[in-house]
Symmetry: C2
Subunit: 133 residues, 2 copies
DNA sequence: TTGCGACTACGAAAACCTTCGTATATATTT
DNA sequence: AAATATATACGAAGGTTTTCGTAGTCGCAA
């Protein structure tokens, strides 16, 4: 098997993890239903994927009851950060700036969210004050 | 074959496209050299990939001379946008806001770039004025 | 207790990606 | 003209990811 700590979830695995992070520990049935709100996907497909993720240590599960309940093992920010890192390198030649411009330009973001981003930028600028690398 | 218009380039294909966008139409040899500055990759590997991309309509080529010259068919912004779309859906449950926060928080962005982003946000806010959907 | 519905387990196919070996053509040099 | 260097074409191996069919288990209602 591969190095476990560097196990980047695949797209499909990420889809499952997002549901779990949003909704808390869930059954396969629930997760499959959520996914099917976005695209068609067979029940056993989701099941199999989750069994693999269990082996990969991306999930844990409670199997005392008949219906198994799964939960993510890794923390959301860390995982998303890992993937962002890779995506940025591979698809945006590492330019966070270009990625952000695209993301903001093409997607609806509420005023409140925009304000929050501005606040973050101000903070970053204050921190960077003096060392304009 | 699959729907051509939605042909998302893969990671390796993206590597090739980036070289082309940066340097203009190029030969396989040139591109393979550029890639080898970052990682080892056989010549025929790059060649094969580019032939596939030709079929997929990601590239065009000029083959009147002995050495074929390839050029990207789609433009950079559109392509990156397509990939972002997918990444956002699969890995950030569609939340551009969260993605931007992560990207800004974890990567060095120059003051000038931060300013540019702020300007974009101001513009977006002005546009949204009145219809807070 | 039989049958039905909902669940897990798992092998294996299908699809997709990346890599490379080999064959072949075409210029250039000696 | 032969040898050399550099191209393209393409099949196929090897790996990973995704999908699904089939089999077996368990609880519950008729």
């Amino acid at each position: 098997m591969k190095n476990i700590s560097s196990n980047r979830p695949t797209d499909s695995e990420m889809e499952i993890l997002e549901v779990l992070w949003e909704n808390g520990p869930s059954s396969v049935r629930f997760i499959n239903n959520e996914i099917n709100k976005k695209r068609p996907c067979g029940y056993t497909t989701t099941l199999k994927l989750m069994q693999i993720m269990l082996k990969k240590q991306l999930l844990t599960r409670e199997d005392k009851t008949k219906v198994h309940i799964y939960a993510p093992l890794a923390d959301r920010d860390a995982t998303e950060g890992l993937l962002l890192e890779n995506f940025l390198t591979k698809s945006f030649s590492g330019s966070a700036h270009r990625l952000v411009m695209q993301a903001l330009g093409n997607h609806n973001t509420t005023d409140a969210e925009l304000e929050e981003i501005k606040k973050l930028i101000d903070e970053l600028e204050r921190k960077q004050y003096g060392n304009d690398e």
